[in-house]
Symmetry: C2
Subunit: 377 residues, 2 copies
């Protein structure tokens, strides 16, 4: 059985490019993970998602535990079969959605009682149950269960929350270890650094996680509304304390300039619903910025969304199909999602090459006109 | 340049199987044409449509003339390029939608003035303009402009309408002939038999069209609410008067048992929005009848939609992905449309083989449990 293993290929400053080897296939880093919330990347067939260059998808523990239920998915052969995606899947632990979607949360040392946002049904998540669900789903990369505190919050509040998350991280790791050898083979468990934007708490959190020992380390609790500068500063205070030899994952980030800034600070993996969600609404991210394809000026424009881009949408469709009202409505859903996901992995392909060739600084300047960006680093 | 040519391969009773050769590819008959109303088969990428076995799509003159406009499509390289479908396209003439969708119609000998159902804009369609639009779109099979009378109607009303449609058919043929040789090469023009459910009018209409001379003959004005028996009787009164050597197309029919009954009566081509529309709503046509995939009983059912079916949906997805509420909503749109289109062309593949092997009677009995069906023929 192949093992889960991170191979670092090249660095350029703090930025890295590499490959995460898993039994279900390789993940080239920096990697963007499209989000298949409820076992589907909305409005796209798995084959189309793969054609955009995605190596791995993200599935949501919270959504899947409520509907159709982790036990049902397991009975039907696991999440990979259920969604017809044979490649790697990372699952979150449900902690973030419990805070953002559910009602009447009650947090204790044991875990979180909450009401389903769908039907008000009483539910419970703990480190043990979150890991059990991810095991039932058959996830390749399983995330520890953590508390995601509401912001703004004081240093004392964040410290208390981070400390609870670190105790839960320990219990999550134990629960992960209790899978059978067969279940666990080639699967990974990632810890999640918390601590808000407080450098001292981030450091303590990173140290606590390293003490437990994980296959990879995520940075959580960012991209929740703070300024980009604060996010980048927090990364600078966190990433240097994470093991060099293991993958680093910034949770919930999908805007191209956020991704580039985080790569420059040593992050390897990303996920976000933003590309697919904005794609369904007719917005496309390009090197020239975000375009609203419903705009009349695109109606006669034959240019592809991104000049020189080889993604399926840019290769096959011209602008007008995305813009002509009724005409575009259906294709737009498919086509601009393809483009969004295509552009992001394509950007990563470029990024990966730029890092490997030690010319990331020039690439960022070319790509983002990023003078200011570079000064900040 | 390859010509448009119908090759009859085998007959079984009145049923036939063959191939329509066109410069853009072969169409195996009996053929079902998925409808790409506004230059897209809703919610599906062209590649997925092709994978279901579809050889030809149908485009709507009425929808495309209003949005994005025929001249715009021509400027952008034609409908095939616009919708990324390099294979044959048949376009209707807009006559049916003018009657069913638009407001304030005023019919004269010259043509029809009407208001766009989108913005109330004044529009005009005549045989000459309808053929011009189809030429601008670059359609491979162009349909004559006809009047589709509202039903019920008297013999006298239908006779008057049919006579007008026959004069328009003559003008349509002349307009089709006025394309440049380059434009016309390999393209076909089909006449449309009208006459309601009156056998004498159908006969007169068929004779009038043969007098003009077309590359294929459609039966229009059916599947508009009449009983299946009346539709079949009208086909029996019409089809024997159409040339044996050219394709015959029953417009607007897509229910499996209607298709089979019409094939038994000598029809070669079909189109309908029903498979894709009902697919988007979670209904699947199978040999066991129509299934509502939102039904809770499918939630734990691992069986494919159709046992033994090799279509992409049956191959890749099990029932539950189509049924689990939120989970199924997005996939259902894609998956059951794939299945619908897959099942129909798959049924046609079976049909074609049964005809070629002179065992259509047995096939119908097996497939539809069609004792009554067979007695009627």
């Amino acid at each position: 059985m192949k093992e889960f293993r991170f191979e670092l290929l090249a660095s350029d400053g703090a930025a890295r490019t590499g490959v995460i080897h898993t039994p279900r296939g390789d993940i080239r880093t920096p990697a963007f993970m499209p989000v298949g919330t409820a076992a589907t990347v909305k409005a796209m067939l798995p084959q189309s998602v793969r054609e955009t260059g995605a190596d791995i998808l993200l599935g949501n523990t919270y959504h899947l535990m409520l509907r159709p239920g982790a036990e049902r998915v397991a009975r039907l052969g696991g999440l990979h079969k259920f969604m017809d995606w044979p490649r790697p899947i990372l699952t979150d632990s449900g902690g973030f959605q419990v805070m953002s979607l559910s009602a009447l949360r009650k947090i204790s040392e044991e875990g979180v009682k909450f009401q389903s946002h769908i039907d008000g049904h009483a539910e419970f998540l703990s480190p043990e149950r979150a890991m059990q669900i991810q095991r039932l789903l058959g996830s390749d990369i399983q995330m520890v269960f953590d508390e995601c505190p509401a912001l703004p919050a004081t240093h004392a509040q964040i410290e208390k929350s981070m400390s609870l998350s670190m105790r839960w991280a320990g219990r999550s790791k134990i629960a992960f270890g209790e899978q059978s050898d067969e279940e666990r083979a080639g699967r990974a468990c990632f810890g999640i650094v918390q601590g808000g934007t407080f450098a001292d708490l981030r450091l303590r959190s990173a140290e606590a996680l390293k003490e437990i020992g994980f296959d990879g380390y995520a940075v959580g609790g960012l991209a929740v509304g703070e300024a980009q500068g604060a996010m980048f500063e927090t990364l600078e205070a966190t990433v240097p304390h994470l093991p060099h030899t293991q993958p680093r994952y910034l949770m919930g980030v999908g805007k191209p300039d956020d991704i580039v800034g985080a790569v420059l600070r040593g992050i390897d993996m990303f996920d976000c619903v933003l590309p697919t969600r904005s794609g369904r609404n007719g917005q496309a991210f390009t090197a020239q910025g975000a375009l609203n394809l419903k705009n009349a000026r695109f109606a006669d424009d034959e240019a592809p969304l991104e000049a020189g881009c080889g993604c399926p949408a840019c290769r096959q469709f011209s602008g007008p199909i995305c813009t002509c009202g009724e005409i575009g409505r259906n294709h737009r859903r498919n086509v601009t999602e393809l483009a969004q996901l295509g552009l992001l992995p394509a950007a990563h392909g470029d990024l990966r090459q730029a890092i490997a060739q030690s010319r990331l600084t020039d690439w960022v300047k070319d790509r983002l006109g990023g003078a200011q960006e570079m000064e900040d680093v």
